[in-house]
C-alpha cells in the first residue's frame, strides 16, 4: 500500500507550512487542496492507497460523506489541525496536531499511521469461509467462469463476484490457481476431480 498526503486547510500559510515540514522527513507525495472534492478527483482510480488527510475539524462531516465510496477500496487516515483554543473531545480515533506542533510530533504521527497500515495489510480478515463461499470456491477450482458459476448456483454474477471478494479477503489468496491450491490443501475439493496441469 502506498501513501499520499492531502492538506485541506483554509489558510495557505498553514498549508504551505505543513507541506514544507512534512516534505523534510517523509518521501510521500503531498497535495495542498482547497476542497474535499479535489481528493475525490485525484483519487478516482485509486485502489489500495493510504490517504493521510490533514484537515480542519469543522470539515469532518463533509469529509465522511464525500469519502464513503473512496473508503471501500482505500485506507483513509485523518490528522486534525486544531487552533489552540479548540478541544480534542470527539476525536478519540484520530490524530491531532496544533499550530504549535513540532516537526518531531508531526513526523511521529505520520510514522505511526504508516505502521498501522502495515499491520492491517498483514492481517487478513480470517474466519472460516461459509457454505456458499465453499460452493463458489469449488466451481472456481473446477475452472468455471463467473457467469457459469452464477448459472450453476442460480445467483447473479454480482453475487458471485461478491462471494469471490470475500473468499480472497478471508484466505489471503488472490490468483485463481492459488485458490485452486487452497481448495485442495484444505480438502474442499478432491484433487482427482480437477485437471491439475491446466488449473495450477
Amino acid at each position: 500500500m502506498t501513501h499520499e498526503i492531502f492538506i485541506l486547510h483554509s489558510s495557505p500559510i498553514i498549508q504551505k507550512g505543513i507541506e514544507s515540514l512534512v516534505s523534510q522527513f517523509a518521501n510521500i507525495p503531498i497535495y495542498s487542496i482547497a476542497y474535499p472534492s479535489d481528493i475525490i478527483k485525484k483519487a478516482q482510480t485509486a485502489y489500495q492507497q493510504h490517504f493521510i488527510i490533514f484537515t480542519e475539524t469543522e470539515l469532518t462531516q463533509e469529509f465522511h460523506q464525500a469519502f464513503q465510496q473512496l473508503q471501500q477500496q482505500n485506507k483513509l487516515s485523518y490528522v486534525y489541525i486544531l487552533n489552540e483554543q479548540e478541544h480534542v473531545e470527539n476525536l478519540k480515533d484520530s490524530h491531532v496536531i496544533s499550530h504549535y506542533s513540532s516537526e518531531t510530533e508531526i513526523s511521529q504521527i505520520i510514522n505511526k499511521l504508516k505502521e498501522d497500515t502495515h499491520v492491517s495489510e498483514n492481517q487478513e480478515q480470517g474466519g472460516n469461509i461459509s457454505r456458499r463461499e465453499k460452493e463458489v470456491l469449488t466451481l472456481v477450482a473446477l475452472g468455471f467462469s463467473n457467469k457459469e458459476i452464477a448459472e450453476e448456483l442460480s445467483i447473479s454474477v454480482h453475487t458471485v463476484i461478491s462471494h469471490r471478494k470475500k473468499i480472497v479477503e478471508k484466505t489471503g489468496i488472490k490468483s485463481i490457481s492459488g485458490l485452486t491450491m487452497y481448495a485442495i490443501m484444505t480438502k474442499i475439493v478432491d484433487p482427482n476431480t480437477i485437471d491439475m496441469s491446466k488449473l495450477i
Binding site: 518521501n27 492459488g178 485442495i184 490443501m185
Partner: protein, 232 residues
C-alpha cells in the same frame, strides 16, 4: 531516512543491509571494497554515480522512490541494469530456489503431501516469470532501444500496459505461494529446509517487486513518452 551519498564508503551499503550485495554485483562491484567511497568506485568502474545512488537508495528504503530523478536517466542505462538483474534471477536466484525446494521435497515422507502441490504451483509460477522476462529481453527492450535511437520506428505497442498487468499477476502468484506455505501446508517436511525455502522466496519477492517498480514507473513511462513524441 538516511540516504546514501557519493561520499559514503561502499562498505557502508553492505553494513546497512547485506541484501544489497547482489545489487552491487549488478554494477560489477564485489568485495574487497577496502575503504573506497561510492564516488571513487563509480569512477573506477565507469558507473554513472547518480544512477547508482538512485538505484541503491530505492532498494534500501521502502518509501524512497526518486521518480523525477530516475526519469531523467537514459533508457539505455536503465535497460542495461534491468538486463543484469534478469540474468541474476535466471542464472543464480531461480536455480538456488529450485535446489532448496528439491531438498525440501526430499524431506517429505509422503508422495502426495502438500509440498508436492506447492512444487507444481511454484514450477508454473517460475515458468511464467521467466517467460515474461524473456519476452522483455527479446522484444520489449530492443524495441525501446530502437525508438530511443530512431523515434520514427515507434508503433505504439506499449500503449495498452500489458506488461504492468503481467507484473501484478506474477506478483500475486508469489504472494499466494507464500501464503499457502505459511497458512495452509501440512507439516510433513524438515523445518530447517522449509525455513530456507521460505527465506529465499521472501528475498526474491522484495527484489522482484523493486525490479518491476523500476520497469513500471520509470522505463515504460520513458518509452511511452518516446512513442507519444513520434506520433505528435
Amino acid at each position: 531516512m538516511n540516504l546514501f551519498t557519493k561520499e559514503n564508503k561502499v562498505i557502508s551499503i553492505v553494513r546497512e543491509s547485506i541484501y544489497l550485495l547482489p545489487v552491487l554485483n549488478r554494477f560489477d562491484i564485489r568485495p574487497g571494497l577496502h575503504d573506497a567511497t561510492i564516488q571513487e568506485i563509480c569512477i573506477e568502474k565507469n558507473i554513472n554515480v547518480d544512477f547508482f545512488l538512485a538505484i541503491i537508495n530505492t532498494y534500501a528504503h521502502q518509501h524512497y522512490f526518486p521518480k523525477t530523478k530516475l526519469l531523467s536517466f537514459s533508457p539505455l542505462l536503465i535497460i542495461n541494469y534491468l538486463r543484469k538483474t534478469h540474468e541474476y534471477y535466471a542464472q543464480y536466484v531461480v536455480p538456488s530456489i529450485d535446489a532448496s525446494l528439491t531438498e525440501l521435497l526430499q524431506s517429505s515422507k509422503h508422495e502426495k503431501s502438500d509440498i508436492h502441490l506447492i512444487q507444481s504451483f511454484y514450477s508454473k509460477y517460475i515458468q511464467e516469470f521467466l517467460k515474461h522476462n524473456d519476452v522483455e529481453e527479446k522484444t520489449v527492450f530492443p524495441y525501446i532501444i530502437s525508438i530511443f535511437e530512431n523515434p520514427a520506428l515507434a508503433d505504439g505497442r506499449l500503449a495498452n500496459k500489458t506488461f504492468e498487468k503481467e507484473h501484478k499477476q506474477i506478483e500475486d502468484k508469489l504472494h499466494d505461494l507464500k501464503n499457502l506455505l505459511l497458512k495452509y501446508m501440512d507439516t510433513d517436511y524438515n523445518e530447517n529446509l522449509y525455513n530456507d525455502f521460505l527465506f529465499r522466496l521472501f528475498l526474491f519477492e522484495k527484489d522482484t517487486k523493486d525490479h518491476a517498480r523500476i520497469e513500471d514507473v520509470i522505463l515504460f513511462p520513458i518509452a511511452r513518452a518516446l512513442e507519444k513524441n513520434t506520433r505528435i
